[in-house]
Amino acid sequence: MNSPTRATMLLETPFHSRVADRCKINDWGNWMGYTTPNAYFDVELEYFSIRSTTGVFDLSPMNKYRIQGPDAEAYLNRMATRNISKIGINRVGYTVWCNDAGMVMDDGTIFRLGESDYRLCSYQRAIDWLLWCALGFDVTITDETEDLAALAVQGPTSCTSLTEMGLTDLNTLKPFGMRTYDFEGEKLMVSRTGFTGDLGYEVWVSPEKAETLWDQLFDAGKEYLIKPFGSYALDIARIETGFIQAGVDFVPAEEMVRPGRARSPFELGLSWLVDLEKPLFNGRTALLKEKAKGSRYRFAILNVDGNKPADHSFILKGDRQIGTVTSAAWCPTAKSNIAFAQLEMPEGSIGEEYVAEIYYQRELHWTRLLAPCKVIDGPIFNPKRRRQTPAIPH
């Protein structure tokens, strides 16, 4: 189990003093052993800071692993499904990694810091697997989770807020690019990455400089209506933009207890991340077989009628249950009711129409709602500003 038990004292992130100060409603959650706000003041307003101004999220608990050495590239190519060789220096790549059965263990981002120097950011703890993968490779793996504090700065005015703070010419940074700046006598790394599907950046500093970063950023962003946001708001944003999450939309393969509950990248709609041309990577043999034989499930984004989120719903085709919902939210900007579903093959083609069986409760009274839904082609929210370079100033 990755999550500590309730009896374990939760850790504080390097931003804790600032986060706690702003967490007006005192609603905290446990993220990988760290205490982090579910919400700061109002989930919807926090969400709208991401979509309309600048939202700030403390992502320090993300697991960060440094991979260095002559075999670093070969190592990552063997571990991850995509072709790591295509990630240039100062570029970032999103990938998943599988076990030998071709089932997804986790997803994450790989930052190429130098010729043979990478940083892997993962949602799950991964050191054990990373070390097993290192056998036979000339690499060193270092857990840097506690050595690096990070903020996600997301939203249309995020570039302006950060530029105002002193990150000059940040607007020229391309999506999935990264750059370092001098900051308070140390290095600050900024990457144009995020989990919101909007224009946005992630800023990485040493834990010692975390509070200074927070203070300077909020000072600089004041004019641009900068606000912190918690995990509830992030969840709406990521569903709106089509991002899946480990432990929610799939069971990390090596934590699976019941046979058949894990999912392959193909079954999670991530075939674009799988490079079967690579000579070797964990899960390749199994994925080749799956490709030939066909997958068991298909990942589908559903646009559901009405405004009741289809949380944990069954998806019906006529009388037959053909799948279940893993994530669902009413998405305010897209003004759509979105659900991620795992549908049994061959269901789930774009445009197919099904019924979501939604249960909700009002004052102890349960209501069953049969909401028509339709498989849509890609995320409902995908603004131009997310990709435009130079980033548009606000």
């Binding site: 075999d71 063997r78 030998d100 097993w132 993968c133 036979g136 070797l280 990577f281 043999t285």
Partner: protein, 520 residues
Amino acid sequence: MTDFDAIIIGAGHNGLVCASYLAKAGKKVLVLESRAVPGGCAATHEFAPGFQVSSCAQWLYQLSPKVVSDLKLPQHGLAYAAEGLATIALDETGDHLRLQGDSASGGGISSEDQKAYAVFRKKMRKYAKLMKTAYDTRPPKLVEHDFRDKMTFAKLGLGMKLLGKDDMSDLMRLILINIFDVMKETFGSSKLQAAIALDAVIGTPMGPRSPNTVFTYLHRFLGEVLGFEGATQVKGGMGTLGAALSNAATDLGAVVRCNTTVASIDKTHDRVTGVTLSSGECITAKLVVSSADPKTTFKSLLGYHHMEAGLVRRIEQIRFKSGTVKVHLALSGLPTFTGLDQSDLGQRLVIAPSLNALESAFNPLKYDESSERPVMDISMPTIHDPSLAPNGQHVLSAIVQYAPLNPKGGWEALRAPFMTAVIAELARYAPDIASLITAEELLTPADLAATFGMTGGNWHHGELTMDQVLMTRPATGISQYQTGIAGLYLCGAGSHPGGGLMGLAGRNSAQEIIRQGELA
């Protein structure tokens, strides 16, 4: 076009058996052996001028009779110097215990123990017969619902049923406990208890109180249902078996190349394509079948960086410990064992005074130290086969336990003192032994590992424990001789059903390769 249908890595007995069956099926087979002679652990060498000894294994007690007849080994030179030897548990005062077939005599053994011994062996034979059902074929997998595997399970299930209710539940109880407890509840004589327990721990890094030792006992006992009643001594030393297997393979059309070291197993994206030799020569084949142990095969020859990480993890987790040493003594004349008739010197002699003595000998191994008072299984091959030594002189060969692979301070420091301890122990039973020694050789687990290419010096190519047998041998997912890597198979003792000069791993593997139609 490939150079061969199959390349077998290693001309050990399993490699040669596999090669022979494949060649018999009409396949073009090449066997590559890094040593100068074929046979692997079935080897004879000259350890002192004029003195020959079986280098590794000294007794034959479970070679599959099916393999012997299928490959016509007697026609290819396999001959026995002695068969059906008794086991004599030595006693310092000369009151030795003699075990022959189902009878136990001497050593002050009670009539109850004598009866119990026959009953015990009858029961063990029933269990070993059941085990043979599983040993004779590839191990069944649990999850794939393969028809053949279901048949194996059905046979095993039926075999369990046929044991009868009492014996079945007793097997379930015994199989996971240890030989110490079984001996204590079965016999009164400590000499008898220890003589049996020695068979359970020999070749393992376990003591009599270690779990799994009932299983290892049954593994050894298998020979009894294969037709061996007691130990057999091969004429000319165990190398004769190696040579016979090599001759059989050659006769069937396989090519056996000695002094040829495989440097790596070659692999493209999707399959293994052949091997590269240390000379740089590349040889291609449709299949590479490795009789090397799994760690040597995957780590040293294929390379972990050519494999998916889950398999690497499973290989890395296999335990290969050993506590077994081989001692060879050249003797100027026959030693006198107190109270032992000269005519019995050619029997299998064991030194294991009591269960506690065995356990005490084992204890230091846990801390990478050696026994102060080692236990041993002794053969004097020159009694039945005088050709092994100059006229009137003799060879004493002993499998001795326990000494670690990497002792604290290294083998350089331990070699002399451990040899002294072995000779001191022998001298308690044969007081004149030291005066007769003209040459000596000690093969440590490290020596055995280096000479025979066995990781850890473990002669089973991976410890025989309940978590490392059947569908988890050598590791889950690769238990049916296939490795999950196209073109690469296993046929060594690291695969089901494990080590000892049995030949079943080689035979089962060949049958599986043929059944899979890989070479059709």
